[in-house]
């Protein structure tokens, strides 16, 4: 039987990247995203026994992450920053094409940071290909309404991105 630590390791490896994207999209700040990720998985570790019986672990982890993000904003009075931290572009020796791609990623995060809080949360999940019923379950919004919301957010984000590119 796998140990607690082994189970946690597997859960962390399977979910941490997506949760990090959610936190980064929400805060627009790398350090804050890491803090939120840590806080989320601390709660997961603390409640590992409850998680064992859950079929959709990722839904629960996402929900903790969303609530942690909402609390974090209140606690630290953080606002999403327009300027993203430079380490989003990781490797200085990357080729030009790669640098350009990472520049586009940076612009995309900047545009996400201009959305409302719930929009940031929903759209990062959409882009990470979380199924719509799961997003509805996480956010507590009915699937029908969620589809309408997602349609609007997609339109808003695309507009923001294209505006940014035109500048």
């Amino acid at each position: 039987m796998p140990s607690q630590e082994q189970i946690f390791k597997e859960i962390f490896q399977a979910n941490s990247k997506k949760i990090y994207h959610l936190c980064f999209g929400y805060t627009g700040d790398d350090a804050a995203a890491n803090d939120l990720l840590q806080e989320t998985f601390l709660k997961v570790w603390q409640n590992l026994d409850k998680f064992r019986n859950q079929s959709m672990i990722s839904t629960w982890i996402y929900r903790i992450a969303v609530n942690t993000c909402l609390t974090y904003l209140k606690k630290e009075k953080r606002q999403a920053k327009d300027e993203l931290t430079p380490n989003i572009i990781e490797n200085k020796e990357e080729d030009f094409e790669d640098k350009e791609k990472q520049e586009q990623v940076k612009t995309l995060y900047e545009c996400i940071s201009k959305l409302d809080e719930n929009e940031r949360i929903i759209i990062t999940m959409v882009m990470d290909e979380v199924p719509y019923p799961e997003i509805a379950d996480i956010s507590g919004i009915s699937e029908g309404n969620l589809r309408v919301k997602i349609h609007r957010i997609k339109h808003k984000l695309t507009e923001l991105y294209n505006q940014h590119e035109r500048l």
Partner: protein
């Protein structure tokens, strides 16, 4: 011009990754538990000298007036109230598991929790100060008959001055600050709550 699918393509190209691993989280959990125990201990330790003085006076001095005992009891009650409320707060924060709830419910919990904290920090603190003042006043009655009148008047004047500074000046600043923070917090929570309303 890019469409949403192109943005998803950009999103999938990202190299952003978390800079912590699972072992760090387990270690952090152990540390935070230790920190919490220390906080519990500190809260109790802060009030221990006051409780010790009250117990010492009760045992070692034979008071002739019942008001002295009543005064000491009220002061002791205030000390216990202070400790109890701090410990209950810490316990509530630790045991709150609304992080698993839907965002709307979690926000509602936060609103309720902030409200109760606000009441504690403002109205209950007023009651606490009045009770403490009453306890000390009752305790002083006996000393009017045994101490030199000028010394006694000096002690009473100093106590009144201290309470006035606390109540009129310090507490007003504190309550205003709390009120400002509270209003801001509630407004932000309301805004978030509206965002997560299941309406289009």
């Amino acid at each position: 011009m890019k469409d949403f699918d192109s943005l998803v393509g950009i999103w999938n190209e990202q190299k952003t990754a978390p800079q912590i691993d699972y072992k760090e989280i387990i270690n952090q959990y152990k540390k935070s538990r230790e920190k919490l125990s220390l906080k519990f201990f500190q809260e109790i330790l802060l009030m221990l000298p006051a409780i010790f003085i009250v117990v010492y006076l009760w045992i070692n001095i034979s008071f002739s007036f019942w008001t002295s005992y009543l005064g000491l009891s009220i002061v002791a009650g205030c000390c216990f109230y202070f400790i109890a409320i701090q410990l209950i707060n810490i316990k509530n924060i630790v045991n709150s598991n609304t992080l698993f709830d839907k965002p709307q419910d979690h926000i509602k919990f936060l609103q309720k929790f902030r409200k109760s904290r606000y009441i504690q920090h403002t109205r209950n603190y007023k009651i606490y100060s009045i009770a403490l003042g009453l306890g000390i006043s009752l305790y002083f009655i006996e000393f009017f008959y045994s101490l030199n009148i000028w010394i006694m008047l000096g002690i009473v004047a100093a106590t009144i001055a201290w309470f006035s500074i606390c109540y009129i000046y310090l507490m007003k600043i504190y309550i205003n600050k709390e009120e400002k923070r509270f209003t801001e917090m509630i407004e932000n929570l309301e805004r978030l709550n509206n965002q997560f309303n299941d309406e289009v």
